[in-house]
């Protein structure tokens, strides 16, 4: 594991370890996109060791790092020049990025929630919301593998209370 220590914190590299023991070396400024990690880094001396993320598997962590990298870069650009141009670029990146299968989508959302990366969490939630629009109850259950844990009486009561939505 190589560690590059620079004068500025932005060139400092940190190591993140996924649940399946994959190690990712990431610039500190990118790591700081995660409020959870920011807390860890600032409180303890993690700059010399690995930060273990037992809740996040490598495949998902890799995607999350990619998202954070892209957004850190975009933000740096905005501080420089034309903000509007980059806004479209970032939007295109986001919609491309979140266009994944349901399993990966859920993984990203869970990880973004744990790592407290608000923009990514919102992006993922919006994607799920878009997938739910105008579906029937059964379709939503099927799409997201939701187990119906209502008793028949409860289900009937819910339906009765909101009859207008079910037709």
């Amino acid at each position: 594991m190589s560690m590059i220590s620079g004068d500025k914190s932005s060139t400092e590299i940190l190591s993140l370890k996924s649940s399946d023991n994959e190690i990712f070396e990431v610039k500190k400024e990118v790591v700081l996109e995660s409020i959870t990690l920011r807390g860890m880094v600032e409180e303890d001396e993690f700059s010399d060791t690995l930060i273990p993320l037992p809740n996040v598997e490598g495949k998902i962590l890799s995607k999350i790092i990619h998202y954070c990298q892209k957004h850190t870069e975009a933000r740096a650009k905005v501080n420089g020049s034309e903000g509007a141009a980059d806004s479209k670029e970032i939007k295109d990146f986001d919609s491309e990025f979140i266009n994944v299968d349901d399993k990966t989508l859920l993984g990203i959302i869970l990880a973004a929630n744990y790592l407290n990366i608000k923009d990514l969490l919102d992006l993922g939630c919006q994607k799920i919301a878009d997938n739910i629009k105008e579906k029937s109850v059964e379709d939503v259950r099927k799409t997201f593998n939701i187990k119906n844990d209502f008793t028949p009486e409860e289900e009937k009561a819910i339906r009765e209370e909101n009859l207008w939505a079910f037709d």
């Binding site: 869970l110 939630c125 629009k133 029937s136």
Partner: protein, 418 residues
């Protein structure tokens, strides 16, 4: 899915927004139902969202809205936009507003209520940040107890309100940044219709379909002003030179005064009658101007034209110039006279309403004035029934442009005909 925390599900449901979808999603399992109960922050009843709304009677709509809202707790954003409903009765509307009072941050409501409900009085005021009202009346504004400490955005459309109440309302919003007024019914006390509005925090203003004799606007922090389809005799804008963006479209105003125009960056005027010397005097200090658009403008004095020398000298940073107006025969050359080039103009948009020979000459003259031009857009109006003469004109114009652009190979040319 089971591993998703209930707050995250609340986030998802809030992004769904549309009431029908939220109800359906919350009927899938217990956790989703709990999320709808306790973690839903946005709910929207929009006639565009669910076609079944059209088939329901007003009473049924009142019932379903009430029942759905009452199944939630802590709603922050409520939107009721039912275009086909004539009016809701006061009781359910009051119930919705009172139920959400403590937590509401955004309210959109566009249905008339009968008898009229004083929405400002009934809705939550403490946390309200965005208020968008249509088709209602506002009366009896009293800033001594009706204050909106967090309100940033206020949009009123087809609202009946007195000039005094509107003015008082603004004083009750110490943080307001955006104001939109569309087709208001403004009750006046004077014989002369005057309105005076003042707010040091307003940044963006949008006025549409407003008709007044006298309008005095005092906005020391104003950055953007858009006027559409208004009829004003006297409009006085008092400020501290923060205005950057000015757009006037299809407006008739006899006397327009804007204090401090030094920081204007964009001026966009269309379908506007200008007294050019007076207007010009007002904007001549806008040395930071980047975009100027004079489209379908009519000059009060028939002999007035826009002379490019003045534009080039006063607006050295101009990068985008759009001009379309009646080109008077003998005056074209007059307008093109002068040595100063438009050094920074990268985009030029020129339009005709009636095609003539003069137009090509004008285009040629302008191209010469813009040494660093990158893009030229020609806007033309082509009538459906083209006379032989019109076809001939268009053909002759096309040929002359092809010829002309050979001299300017680096300029990208686009045509937009309507």
């Amino acid at each position: 899915m089971e591993s998703l925390p209930v707050e995250v599900i609340g986030n998802i449901l809030s992004r769904l927004g549309a009431a029908r979808d939220v109800v359906i999603a919350s009927a899938t399992c217990r956790k989703w139902r709990e999320a709808c109960r306790n973690h839903l922050d946005t709910l929207s009843f929009d006639s565009d969202d669910w076609p079944v709304y059209h088939d329901l009677t007003t009473v049924r709509l009142e019932i379903l809205i009430t029942q759905t809202i009452f199944q939630t707790r802590g709603l922050q954003c409520l939107s009721i936009s039912m275009d086909e409903v004539d009016e809701f009765s006061a009781a359910p509307v009051i119930a919705w507003l009172m139920y959400t009072r403590e937590t509401l941050r955004q309210l959109l409501y566009n249905v008339r209520t009968t008898p009229n409900v004083n929405i400002l009085e009934k809705c939550g005021r403490q946390r309200l940040e965005v208020l968008d009202l249509s088709n209602n009346s506002i009366t009896g504004v009293d800033p001594s107890y009706q204050r909106f400490p967090c309100l940033k955005s206020l949009s009123l459309s087809h609202i009946s309100i007195s000039a005094l109440d509107l003015s008082l309302l603004l004083t009750a919003c110490p943080k307001i940044e955006f104001l939109s007024l569309v087709n208001p019914e403004i009750a006046m006390s004077d014989s002369q219709a005057t309105m005076e509005l003042s707010s040091p925090t307003l940044k963006k203003i949008y006025f549409e379909a407003i008709s007044l004799d006298k309008f005095i606007l005092e906005a020391d922090g104003l950055e953007s002003l858009i006027l559409k389809d208004c009829t004003l005799e006297y409009f006085d804008i008092i400020g501290k030179g923060t205005l950057k963006y000015l757009e006037i479209d299809d407006v008739s105003v006899l006397h327009l005064e804007i204090e401090s125009t030094e920081n204007l960056e964009v001026i966009d005027l269309s379908s506007f009658t200008i007294v050019w010397p007076k207007f010009y005097q007002m904007i001549s200090r806008s040395s930071k101007l980047r975009r100027l658009r004079l489209w379908g403008v009519v000059f009060d004095d028939e002999d007035e034209i826009v002379d490019l020398e003045t534009i080039a000298v006063c607006f050295p940073q101009l990068s985008h110039l759009s001009l379309s107006y009646d080109l008077k025969d003998g005056l074209i050359n007059y307008g093109l006279q002068g040595p100063t080039k438009l050094e920074n103009v990268a985009v030029l948009e020129l339009g005709w309403t009636v095609i003539s020979d003069h137009f090509s000459l004008w285009v040629a003259g302008l191209l010469e004035r813009c040494p660093n031009l990158k893009k030229l857009v020609i806007h033309g109006v082509v009538s459906e029934a083209k006379t032989h003469e019109e076809c001939h004109m268009l053909a002759s114009f096309t040929s002359s442009i092809v010829q002309l652009m050979r001299k300017y190979m680096r300029v990208e040319v686009q045509f937009e005909y309507e």
